[in-house]
Symmetry: C2
Subunit: 127 residues, 2 copies
DNA sequence: TCATCGTATTGTATTTTCTCGATTTGTTTA
DNA sequence: TAAACAAATCGAGAAAATACAATACGATGA
């Protein structure tokens, strides 16, 4: 009675059977993969982008900064909902904000983000 | 006793008070926004990208197609879990697959996706 | 100073997503 | 034909994300 193999080991066996040089094949799988921190950071960004309301906010911020009240109009949603979305965007580092009097103004943190959005649309259209 | 205003109307009032030309301001908010379908499609893509395991899969597919068993090794996760992630990537149009014998091979559907991933990393580093 | 205003936070109910064992499907091989 | 195999699907429980009313906060102005 041998130990039950853990999930990836069975798969490794399958690779053994499938390829002529399985070790080389597995080696390329382990080549210079991004660090766990990189992956986590990317995932945070994409999670923040994976919501229709937040995408609408970012689009509204393309041309200029906007105050919170304007973004409420854009989303047509309760103030607390909008504020929560904005916090999430801030936490992901996608927008920055400044406070003037009782108003908060939001803006895109990095114009590279706009490129990400545009490219994603291109990917979508190809699909 | 007037009707309670719906959420966005209060915000519209705030815009009235804040800006010299509120109507013009609101008009720019309504300018040529992306269609609901565009936004939904983008959100689908970003949701698919908003998961560390799926990002690792895409990274493994950068250089060449891979069979499912190889991707199991990459993720070190049960077969059904890996298969579910792959389905989600396919549904979002980010990967394609071909079947040969009992093996399924996955590949990046559109190289523009790699640009999205690289740009996102740049955004992350700026943040 | 007191009421009002724009915004942020909190608490909770709801919805969505994720995980993974079990089973099924389709293929190859003994 | 039966056994083994890779992969897909199903289903249930767990975890995460979302919506939003209620409330708190900080600034403004009467």
């Amino acid at each position: 009675m041998s130990e039950p193999e853990s999930p990836p080991d069975e798969a490794a066996d399958a690779i053994e059977r499938l390829y002529d040089d399985p070790d080389a094949r597995i080696a390329t799988l382990q080549d210079v993969r991004p660090s766990a921190e990189d992956i986590a950071g990317q995932a945070t960004i994409f999670k923040a982008l994976g919501n229709e309301d937040r995408l609408r906010v970012l689009d509204a911020l393309r041309d200029s900064e906007r105050c919170g009240c304007e973004l409420q109009v854009v989303l047509d949603a309760p103030q607390s909902t909008v504020s929560t979305h904005l916090r999430k965007l801030k936490e992901a580092g996608l927008v920055k904000s400044r406070k003037k009097g009782k108003w908060s103004y939001y803006r895109i943190a990095d114009t590279a983000l706009l490129d990400v959005l545009d490219l994603a649309r291109a990917v979508q259209e190809d699909a």
